[in-house]
Symmetry: C2
Subunit: 409 residues, 2 copies
């Protein structure tokens, strides 16, 4: 039997994880596939944008100096988007122009068709434009050579739009981490395969961890190894190590002799970074590295597993993808009653959130037992209570990690 050698504090554990996590290699991805990833380099504008003065509306390009209400203009050419006019605009002349069309030489304003007598060979002006009216100037959005998107920017729809206007068809991004999730434990049964025998439970951790890793942007898959047998486990971890950037197990990291995960990892050459965090739920968390692979041994209790994932694995995945800023939102919350922390270590309490005049009111979702999976579906946030054993007086603001962004309204 092995006891914890040294428990460390949560901020220290988070720091050790982030410090030892490498950025993944850079790949050139087509625009659509770069969605959700982070730019590995600054992108610069390849041209002025828009590349030429163009019309913001459908109407007529003309000389604003000529533009008296009631005057009749002669239409001498047209300039649809994509096809510049062949002529320039002289006095009393106009060129029919469409949104995005190149402003013809001589013209300094566009009058909307709604402000004329309509489309024809001639038209009467109903409203005078001033110089520059309805003209989008070349380079008004970006100038050639400008940095349009900085390294580290997360690629969303607006960033894809901006890169495309500059002719970028592929983007340099950090690739997605490959996560292999091991499901270990003789008591585990795959859901929807058969009825439970006495002492058995359905596996839920590996499904939840795969889902959470996918939500974070990783490519995650399960590897089924429902056994506490040392050899089976060793074979599964060896297989995971072949392809994974990150290996995540749950269970088998506690102090009992059946808890083989940690010892198997160590036997396979994994270097332990830490084992044991002064933190609830999730004290027996194991973290280690082997070459470029990062290994997390999450506790087996479903709540501990998911909370440890959110607090340690998710930041590591974000960091690997270059998305260092992308932590879960943190807000200040308060409780209506005094909160006691009798655990002698930091308690990440599952709470629901309610907006009040004083700020965010947190309320425990109920019993905080580590096996209460339903509590996770009710939790909006994790309130960080402690590590002082005295707890928190009613009304005192403390930090909470928001799990459901949509609550922040």
């Amino acid at each position: 039997m092995q006891l914890f050698e040294k428990l460390i504090e949560y901020p220290e554990a988070e720091r050790l994880v982030l410090e030892s996590t490498p950025l993944l290699p850079v790949e050139e991805k087509p625009l659509g596939e770069a969605l959700g990833l982070a730019l590995a380099r600054d992108l610069t504008a390849t041209t002025d944008s828009p590349p030429f003065d163009n019309s913001a509306v459908d109407g007529y390009a003309l000389r604003s100096a000529d533009a008296e209400v009631g005057r009749v203009f002669r239409v001498v050419d047209e300039a649809p988007a994509g096809r510049p006019a062949k002529r320039s605009v002289g006095e009393g002349e106009a060129i029919k122009i469409f949104t995005g069309g190149v402003i013809p030489e001589g013209a300094d304003a566009v009058v909307m068709v709604e402000n004329t007598s309509g489309w024809g060979e001639e038209f009467e002006l109903k409203k005078s434009p001033t110089p520059g009216t309805n003209i989008r100037d070349a380079g008004e959005d970006t100038r050639k050579g400008d940095i349009i998107l900085g390294a580290g920017t997360e690629v969303g729809a607006p960033e894809i739009a901006l890169a495309a206007t500059q002719g970028y068809g592929v983007l340099p991004v950090y690739r997605r981490p490959r996560v292999v999730v091991l499901s270990t434990g003789t008591e585990l049964v795959e859901p929807d395969t058969r009825d439970l025998q006495p002492g058995e439970i359905f596996d839920s951790n590996s499904y939840a961890v795969v889902a959470a890793a996918s939500e974070a942007g990783a490519e995650a898959r399960r590897l089924y190894a429902a056994s506490d047998d040392a050899q089976t486990l060793r074979t599964a971890i060896e297989e995971a190590l072949l392809s994974a950037d990150v290996v995540v197990t749950s269970g088998g990291v506690s102090v009992g002799e059946k808890d083989l995960v940690k010892s198997t990892m160590l036997a396979l050459g994994v270097e332990q970074v830490f084992w044991g965090v002064k933190f609830k739920p999730g004290k027996p968390l194991f973290y280690g590295t082997r070459d470029e692979t990062r290994l997390f041994g999450l506790p087996g209790n479903p709540v501990s597993a998911m909370v440890c994932f959110d607090l340690f694995v998710r930041p590591a995945l974000m960091r690997m993808m270059g998305r260092e800023d992308k932590r879960r939102p943190r807000i200040l919350v308060y409780f209506e009653r005094d909160i006691v922390n009798k655990f002698g270590r930091l308690h990440a309490m599952r709470v629901s959130l309610k907006r009040t005049q004083r700020g965010w009111l947190a309320e425990s979702v109920g019993a905080q037992g580590s096996g209460l999976v339903s509590s996770l579906t009710k939790a909006d946030a994790l309130a960080l209570i402690g590590p002082a054993s005295e707890g928190i007086p009613a009304g005192e603001p403390i930090e909470a990690i928001v799990l459901r962004d949509e609550k922040l309204q």
Copy 2:
């Protein structure tokens, strides 16, 4: 030439979109593939969870009545997770038990191995448990028959964990909308294919709309039809109608004669729900239906296209997937200076957000021209100004739609 018959207000337009949007068919999806989708039915617990009284720790199950510090216990059997002990616990006896193991008959408490002299055939007790210590009761999380997840719940990692513990391997969810995005306009060139000729620009809207639709959870693809030619456009829209739940175009909905998108849609039997919204940027928005397909004609200006997508198409996609509650967050913001709205219609102003002591300070990202794609990458939110032409006095709270959740910290 056709002018707008009737402009409607933004809330009316949003209502018309949502009212005319059907829920998509329900599919049974494996747990992992249900991520991000909404449950179409209530899920009930199939068994008590946990299904049996079990140990929360590694240690010894014993009778709390016997548990005096210093007493030596005899270990008579063991109960690893997944394999119940064969014996019951008598006076002075203990059964070695592991996290998740079934509590043996006779025992009413578990003492952690850390509170004993260690693993052996005998051990000495170092700390006394009380009845129920370290025991997770059968059904303490959920009881058979309870509704564990209500219809409409979005499936995230916690919901997958909870469903799995109840043996659900597939979940009934509304399927993802199929979105076809048409890229139309003679002036458009595919990024990264060739240099621009005079009057040409790179296509950005269709890439951005596909990305935004994917972010919302849809299966989106581009259909390339870079032409203002009526027949080409008709063929492309017909192809889109074959497979799409939602067709999205950009450009070609304004009042000019080259604006063929709307007329082509109408010629193909699309019923117009509205055309024209008293709203900036995005006045010429077209919305129509044909049988089960919904068609959005977005304006061609990149900013208008993306803002209209966020305000009209995204809510429709969410509604199709049964995620009615999943609107973008809305918050109150204020400006430091008076804000004038000279457009005579609602202005969705692109703003950045800053947390201050008074609340959320909004600041315009700069020029609000509809062609300024870079402004979208700087915007944290859309402040809804108007429709009163007088504008907003400094300090007055107004509603804003948050585009970047991660700002809300």
